[in-house]
């Protein structure tokens, strides 16, 4: 039997166009308050570093852009990621690999870039899951943060239980393709080729 809810979850409100001030202040020139933006890279404070020199695993770069329903690039979004390490384990407090990162989209090009290690397969009670990175997107005009996943085109994704639950026509929206040294993962919020978003 499930416990009754005593309280209701606080309603979400849009992150708005100035999310950077609170979450990535150095990125928009609000400097001297925090020593570094949380989740920005190996030098970030608060354990935001995705990869330290001693973290085992394949170094990868994932770059992408986000488009709206008119095909316009979104330049005011913020993207966060959460992932397992190369052995498929989610990091716990104090681990050298934090598993979490945060990127503001470029204010002109809209590009976000994650430099991380490739996650391993994850064993869950729902079955083995292919390597993937969980993604959360907020921006002006997004009332409730959007959850999606990045999978990799060069992995065997045939048995993944999440991909299996998606209409085959839409599965490819979650699969990053290799282009040169980087993976490309573009997001379409609305309309043709709309990215699959989850109710987690």
């Amino acid at each position: 039997m499930r416990p009754p809810r005593r309280y209701k979850e606080s309603p979400s409100q849009t992150a708005g166009p100035y999310v950077h001030i609170g979450c990535t202040p150095n990125f928009v020139g609000v400097q001297g308050i925090y020593s570094a933006d949380l989740g920005a890279g190996p030098d970030a404070d608060l354990g935001g570093a995705l990869q330290g020199a001693d973290v085992p695993g394949e170094r990868i770069t994932i770059a992408g852009q986000i488009c709206d329903g008119a095909g316009e690039l979104i330049t005011d979004a913020m993207v966060e990621s959460w992932q397992a390490d190369a052995q498929g384990r989610y990091p716990t407090a104090g681990a050298s690999f934090s598993g979490w990162a945060r990127q503001a989209c470029d204010l002109t090009t809209g590009v976000f870039t994650f430099r991380t290690i490739k996650p391993g397969c994850i064993q869950t009670s729902g079955g083995p899951q292919s390597p993937h990175i969980s993604i959360w997107i907020v921006a002006r005009g997004i009332n409730l943060g959007l959850h999606t996943r990045i999978y990799f085109a060069d992995e065997d994704n045939s048995a993944d239980p999440v991909l299996a639950a998606i209409d085959p026509m839409r599965r490819q929206t979650l699969i990053a393709s290799q282009r040169g040294d980087a993976y490309v993962f573009n997001v379409r919020l609305q309309g043709e080729n709309e990215t699959v978003f989850f109710d987690l």
Partner: protein
Amino acid sequence: MSDHASRLLDRDYSGQPEALTPAYKSSRLRAPCQPLLRLPETVRDVTGPVFGHDKLGELDANLVINAAAPNQSALGPRILVHGCVLDENGKGVPGALLEVWQANAGGRYRHKNDGYLAPLDPNFAGCGRTVTDAQGRYQFFTIQPGAYPWPNHVNAWRPMHIHFSVFGHAFAQRLITQMYFEGDPLIALCPIVQTVKDPQSIDQLIAKLDMGRAVSMDHLAYRFDLVLRGRQSTLFENRPEGN
């Protein structure tokens, strides 16, 4: 198994905004058309990043002085904002990272994309952060932000508000919201507030004046509690093995 890894309750959407809310214009091209795909609870993200108190700067939760010159402080009504982060089960959430951002007392953000004619305050940046204590409590010291106009429709004004970003213990609990101030008549006119249809849920976003925490000749206080998604079981139940 710790409660950090026990399963989350299904999300209760009755208090949440729809994606497409045409009165809030920016949602029109940014709302997905397709319904969210429900994932089985066995594959949800029940873990998430952990943040420590020890890494926070001394002034991170004091917006009145964290960007001010020595012996100076931000302009505006001085306020304490405090409350608890709870989950739907009513349990305090310790170790939750809260990040806040806001306009200054004139309604202007320190952001290159904000061109409102109200001036910047050289002693105010508008960002702060803290981590909840063992009971889930938090507090910020700041100034009351001003209302400001925005281009959603003719004569559209945002009520006074402070943005909150909240991390619980699970990535699936991630939440960004806004705190409003009790008695502000602009709340009822704001299409962003009104993306939430349930009046009781809107009330959850309105901080209440708290004279018990106000300090005479110094500052007023507002109480604002936040609720994150709950779990199917907690350590307080007699099932240490979890579900």
